[in-house]
């Protein structure tokens, strides 16, 4: 079992956990992830490591409650525990001194982009961060990001915070007016990463995306995480998760991620109807009963 040292909601449905996993905390590098199983019957889900505290021996994960497992995880509180955490998995992202780096985080992607922004900041790159979300509440890690950014732009779909529009809009405008950053990092929903890749492609600006396929083992054993990059099949868990965004077949990634759409929907409905029909009880008790 892996203890939850701290659990706080950052936004509705978005929760930040500090989980005790000293080995992973000591080793992890930006871009790496862990696989988590919430309870003994749970599924294995990949979560990017947002940061770690070596002294405390904890890793920080930011979880958006979308499906059954992430919602279940988000019911856990400080003092409870998750069943399994394994990692750090994947290849660390490469961080070099290149000049100006644009880090774009859409929604919970901000948490995944954060360690990369920190690394670029520490190595001495000029970091321009673009954070976005559907609405003000969904823009997370604003202060943390600001601390490692030389410039910060915020967008929301409804204009409730920063400028109205998508994260890719300010990038496009600046590129059109002649701005040429040296590297762009896009982390977030697939349509957003695809839009960023298309925005930078005409200018030949190196652009990296962090892919989020469905995974099982996370160690290269199953091939469930495969994606097509430059026409070649890659296993994202061992070959990635970061790839040249101009080469990624985002359409295929989106398609494969819908494989279990129906099952996930039903599983979530089962889970939610169960919660609704019960008086409030400790989430752990509920899980133990489900065994």
């Amino acid at each position: 079992m892996f203890d939850i040292v701290d659990a706080q909601f950052l936004a509705p449905d978005v929760k930040r956990f500090r989980i005790r996993a000293p080995k992973i905390a000591a080793r992890r590098l930006p871009g790496q992830f862990v696989i988590v199983r919430v309870h003994a019957q749970g599924e294995r889900i990949p979560l990017t490591i947002a940061s770690s505290d070596v002294n405390e021996g904890t890793v920080t994960l930011v979880v958006q409650g979308i499906g059954r497992t992430t919602k279940q995880l988000n019911e856990l509180e400080t003092g409870q525990a998750v069943h399994d955490v394994v990692g750090p998995l994947g290849r660390p992202g490469e961080v070099h001194k290149v000049g100006t780096v644009v880090v774009i985080g859409g929604g919970v992607g901000a948490a995944i982009a954060y360690p990369t922004a920190v690394a670029h900041h520490e190595i001495g790159n000029q970091v321009v961060t673009i954070l976005g979300g559907r609405t003000r509440d969904l823009v997370i890690l604003e202060d943390e990001m600001r601390a490692v950014s030389d410039e910060m732009i915020i967008t929301t779909d409804d204009g409730s915070l920063g400028r109205k529009g998508l994260v890719v809009d300010p990038l496009k405008e600046r590129l059109e007016s002649g701005w040429r950053p040296n590297l762009v990092m896009a982390v977030g929903p697939i349509p957003m990463m695809r839009a960023v890749a298309e925005a930078t492609r005409p200018y030949g600006i190196e652009t990296i995306a962090s892919l989020n396929p469905i995974m099982v083992d996370g160690t290269g054993m199953c091939g469930g995480c495969r994606a097509s990059v430059g026409g070649k099949t890659v296993f994202v868990c061992v070959d990635g998760p970061e790839f040249d965004a101009h080469q990624v077949d985002f359409g295929l990634l989106a398609l494969r991620n819908k494989t279990y759409f129906m099952q996930e929907k039903e599983s979530l409905e089962r889970f939610e109807s169960k919660i609704a029909s019960e008086p409030h009880r400790c989430a752990l008790d509920k899980m133990l009963e489900e065994k």
């Binding site: 080995k23 294995r44 099982v216 091939g223």
Partner: protein
């Protein structure tokens, strides 16, 4: 049964009658029954009771039910106790087959178990999954004129008897040597190596990447062929002997091999298995509905997706058509699993002819009984999807058998103009595995072959780096449980020598 052709597998043609009356052993109390060689030869190979095919193709319970004590003794009587038993030489780990069968005939099942366990620490598993027909049973003298003695079924019976009656002997361990060995991977290679080393007095820790122990035995081979309970029991036995197990530890990432060496491990055995499944390398392979066998079986076995309320989903095959590509055990496991999940058509599509299928004959036989269709001499060309990217068919060519290739098997040659489409909604690719790159990328100085397997001496398991040993599928490429166990055992012996002598 005297008209049965020699050398044929018993699976398909043995008698359905369980135990015929004559010439039954005269007594059931211990002691060796008096029976002439001629009488022994008259006893037909005993059929192992199994679940009805129609019934079992809808559940995940074990297909084979195992011999009863009576059936086991009857079968054991068929053994003519050769002075020079060829079966022992045919076994990769030289189990004292003749002697344990004698004990079974005498009704001393616990004694038989002790005899087997001298050479094989996981007999309940091997009795179920070893390719006996190409090993011990292939060379059985009785099999020259008749069906061979059912050695695998006897091994299974003895091991189950011992476990069910809690007769496992608690080993006396020698005084601790003070040496510590790290084992990477908890498949049959790692478990065997651990079992031997702990009995030599060394401290042993097994590191496993997944959340559950057992390697392919738990994530690959399905419940209906090898109940997980049996694997767990074997692992519990090792735990009781003092083996430490650490799950969720991907060596190379959580700790590197070098860190283990720096942190007090005197030697490391690497038994990380094959991993990294091959695909067919044809267009359309990433469409929704196409799995590697590893993924499909892991979802169903390890993650229990056969239970519809499991948190882990698997493609819904109820009423759909499924094709599995390959002809090995993995392919049989995948196709039979899809049948059990409710597939309408469950098909094996294989490049060569049935005679060349590497699967255990019993599995092919069982699959057919369960209604699996076999389509041989077929080469897939392309997967075709519908507008929304879900698999809808596979385009194939028919093959003819040509000249023998380097493996001695006749090469399949595509017939021009024989393209045809087979409608399917799910496909499983079971054409073997490459090697997992994690150890390679994180262990400097360790030599690998071009295929990505570790270079290791087959006799000692020694790699190109002092202190590091390796065995099992990571050295041989995808092979068998018993070969992995044999490698684990030989490595344990040479690790012991290395730890005692301190010289490489």
């Amino acid at each position: 049964m005297s008209d049965v052709k020699p050398g044929q597998d018993g699976g398909a043609q043995e008698q359905a009658r369980p135990a015929p009356a004559p010439p039954a052993p005269s007594s059931t109390d211990g002691g060796s029954p008096k029976i002439s060689a001629k009488e022994r030869m008259k006893i037909p190979r005993q059929k192992m009771p199994e679940q009805d095919a129609g019934e079992r193709s809808r559940n995940f319970k074990e297909v084979n039910l195992g011999f009863t004590a009576e059936l086991a003794r009857m079968e054991a009587l068929r053994c003519i106790q050769c002075p020079k038993p060829l079966c022992v030489a045919g076994c990769p780990v030289s189990v004292q087959i003749r002697d344990f069968i004698q004990s079974v005939a005498e009704g001393d099942f616990a004694g038989a178990a002790r005899l087997i366990k001298i050479d094989n620490v996981l007999p309940a598993i091997c009795g179920r999954v070893c390719p006996q027909e190409s090993q011990c049973e292939a060379v059985c003298t009785v099999g020259k004129k008749n069906d061979p003695v059912a050695i695998g079924r006897l091994e299974r019976f003895v091991a189950d008897y011992e476990r069910d009656n809690r007769l496992q002997q608690v080993m006396d361990l020698p005084a601790p040597t003070g040496k510590k060995v790290g084992i990477v991977g908890s498949g049959p290679a790692g478990l065997t190596c651990a079992a031997d080393l702990i009995r030599m007095g060394h401290a042993v820790t097994v590191f496993e990447a997944l959340h559950e122990l057992g390697g392919v035995l738990v994530y690959g081979i399905p419940e209906f062929r090898l109940p997980k309970e049996i694997v767990h029991a074997e692992i519990d036995g090792l735990r009781q002997l003092g083996v430490e197990f650490v799950t969720n530890a991907v060596i190379g990432l959580t700790d590197t091999v070098d860190e283990l060496l720096q942190n007090g491990y005197d030697a490391i055995f690497i038994g990380v298995g094959a991993g990294l499944p091959y695909f067919l390398d044809i267009p359309g392979e990433n469409l929704v509905g196409i799995y590697s066998a590893n993924e499909f079986l892991t979802r169903v076995n390890l993650m229990r997706a056969y239970n519809p309320t499991s948190d882990t989903p698997v493609f819904r095959v109820q009423g759909k058509d499924v094709a599995v590509f390959g002809g090995g055990n993995t392919a049989m496991d995948a196709v039979r699993t899809s049948k059990r999940l409710g597939a309408r058509r469950a098909m094996i599509l294989y490049r060569r002819s049935e005679a060349e299928m590497p699967a255990r004959i019993e599995e092919v036989h069982h699959a057919k009984e369960e209604g699996v269709e076999f389509h041989t001499l077929i080469t897939p060309l392309e997967f075709v999807g519908d507008e929304s990217g879900w698999l809808k068919s596979v385009r194939c060519l028919r093959n003819e058998l040509g000249e023998p290739d380097s493996s001695g098997r006749r090469r399949p040659v595509p017939v021009k103009g024989s393209e045809h489409d087979i409608p399917i909604e799910m496909a499983v690719i079971a054409v073997g595995n490459g090697s997992n790159p994690i150890i390679r990328q994180t262990t400097p100085g360790l030599e690998f072959t071009k295929r990505g397997t570790i270079v290791a001496d087959p006799e000692t398991g020694k790699t190109t780096r002092p202190g590091l040993f390796a065995g099992g599928d990571i050295v041989t490429g995808g092979a068998t449980v018993i070969l992995a166990m044999g490698a684990g055992r030989r490595a344990a012996k040479s690790i012991d020598e290395y730890l005692k002598s301190g010289t490489w």
